[in-house]
Symmetry: C2
Subunit: 334 residues, 2 copies
């Protein structure tokens, strides 16, 4: 099986070295990674941001992306949401024995593509192979390191009554794109995952010089869960307007069919920004100037009273409490 | 199944938040982790070391340790082997649906214990749950960040002809301990994994002020593979003495029974140091002053000629070429 990954590819021995050199280093190559020591080294100074995520999405290839693109963008975005400029990435893969080597190469190419767009470098990595049936094809972990520019202080706990809540575009694309591929659903129009690196949009937001209190990407658990986190961390109440929240027709349709609420469906290329009303015009313009924020809108505001609660004013004008996701409507979505 | 992990524990929703708070943050708690933002932030300045490893060891509990201890020590050691002082750790788990919550708690306790000994802090993390049959119980990824003290320059490429090669103690304990548990082997005496954080030993070595060219922990692929990596990276020849290499009786016995060569069996608490002959006495004393280096010895030297080759002078006085590991004698050993 020359095109298959063998247990020996994870042994640390000859085959493992060849896999690392030929499949990973040759594609992702840069001077730091090429040193091949136990740890990568580089110079840094300031407030460092550090984050990690594992990716277990099923299927690994889906409309608009794959597990590799997701693994880069997800960690880039976690860094960007803390106001950091993403710099260095680690890449660790757990591969199921028998996995296709050409699929692995395709994924590493996609990782490379995403790091180029995000302006990041993969500097250290690890490869493990587990026996057939002990993983589902391929799992990826990335950890990322970035630098928070001086004066930037973005945190979920910073939301304040009076702040406006901005959303960078329509919700639910990623979750529904993955789900539809998994379940074999077909749409009349093309629906793709929104998986994208958002660090450029964050740079544009911060470059306005306006105060920004919170940034967060509504991934697993969707917009509803993210807003609940922000309300809880900052001990505020959040009110959103149903009419203001953009959702694509196809996503709405699929959600109705599957019995899902788009508020809980995962996004991988959207962000929520919370900031004082005075800065909204400039920040909204900055978001819309980024290719991933053209449909950015104001969706609500932060208020006093009922700390930790999120409510939505519906199309009918009534108020509905928006809880955190309970249960798991979409397993293995990222 | 109140004691079982459910898919919903990985959803990003309510159950996921409870798992993170009650199982992870309460045990590993520190002010940085408790912020619960998308990325952890802290101040750093200087040469930063950054590394990652995934852990897929089978079984997850074995004599002398478990997957949690391994996941901390392995990454601590990768940082230490680049001369860095380990500081911050990320922790990402992929859990198989149905996994025992109390086993998870036991592993997180063990992780906590290991971070205390190593003087590290877990500052960021991630939890994913995959459906039953899509993982084997639990996989862990850790990434680590440390600072390389000024003036320290340790790398596999720095080995020079004339350097001596030191080994911190007997080889093969980890591999054989895991293997014996997996295969149900019994020994007359107790054999345990050597899994341990080696950063204290490295600090002692560096505190001697002697020049140290390379440090490396011979994990997957064993001592033989590590020496081959060093010989290849530094374009030198390495000669070791069979008689000088410490191996426990039980390990030798098990290796004979299983048809293994201890030179290729994984270690998780040993290090190889390469340095000029002039520094050997002081560095050896420093290694022996650490609780994990009491049996440290000189095992060979770096020479000219045949770059990339490792040879061993056997008990009989003949020379045997020691190649890198080929195939995989011990899958899922770490």
């Amino acid at each position: 099986m020359p095109d298959r990954i063998l247990l020996a590819h994870g042994s640390g021995g000859k085959l493992a070295h060849r896999l690392v050199t030929e499949t990973f280093v040759s594609r992702l190559g840069n001077p730091i990674l090429a040193q091949m020591d136990d740890a990568a080294t580089f110079n840094l100074s300031g407030t460092v941001a550090f984050t990690t995520d594992s990716y277990v999405v099923d299927p690994i290839f889906f409309p608009g992306g794959d597990i590799g693109k997701l693994a880069v963008c997800g960690t880039v975005n976690d860094l960007a949401m803390s106001g950091a400029r993403p710099l260095y990435l680690s890449l660790a893969v757990i591969i199921e024995e028998g996995f296709s080597k050409s699929d692995l190469e395709r994924i590493v190419d996609s990782i490379h593509q995403a790091t180029i767009e995000a302006g990041m470098t993969i500097v250290t990595g690890d490869t493990k192979v587990v026996n057939q049936g002990s993983a589902d094809k391929l799992y990826i972990n990335t950890a990322g390191v970035g630098i928070v520019p001086e004066g930037v202080n973005v945190s979920g706990k910073n939301a304040k009554p009076g702040d406006k809540i901005l959303l960078s575009g329509p919700i639910g694309d990623h979750g529904i794109a993955v789900m539809s591929k998994r379940e074999g659903l077909r749409f009349s129009s093309k629906l793709e995952s929104d998986s994208a690196p958002l660090n450029d949009m964050v740079e544009r937001i911060l470059a306005t010089g306006q105060q920004v209190h919170c940034l967060r990407d509504p991934t697993r658990g969707g917009l509803a869960t993210t807003l609940n986190e922000l309300a809880q961390q900052s001990h505020t109440r959040i009110v959103i307007e149903e009419a203001a929240i953009p959702v694509r027709e196809e996503v709405l349709g699929a959600c109705e069919m599957l019995g899902l609420d788009p508020l809980y469906v995962a996004n991988e290329g959207k962000l929520v920004a919370v900031l004082p009303a005075s800065g909204v015009d400039k920040v909204l313009a900055a978001m819309r100037s980024s290719c991933y924020g053209k449909r950015a809108v104001i969706i609500g505001e932060v208020t006093d009273g009922e700390p930790g609660r999120v409510v939505m004013r519906t199309h009918l004008g009534s108020f509905r409490v928006i809880d955190m996701l309970t249960g798991d409507i979409l397993p293995r979505i990222c």
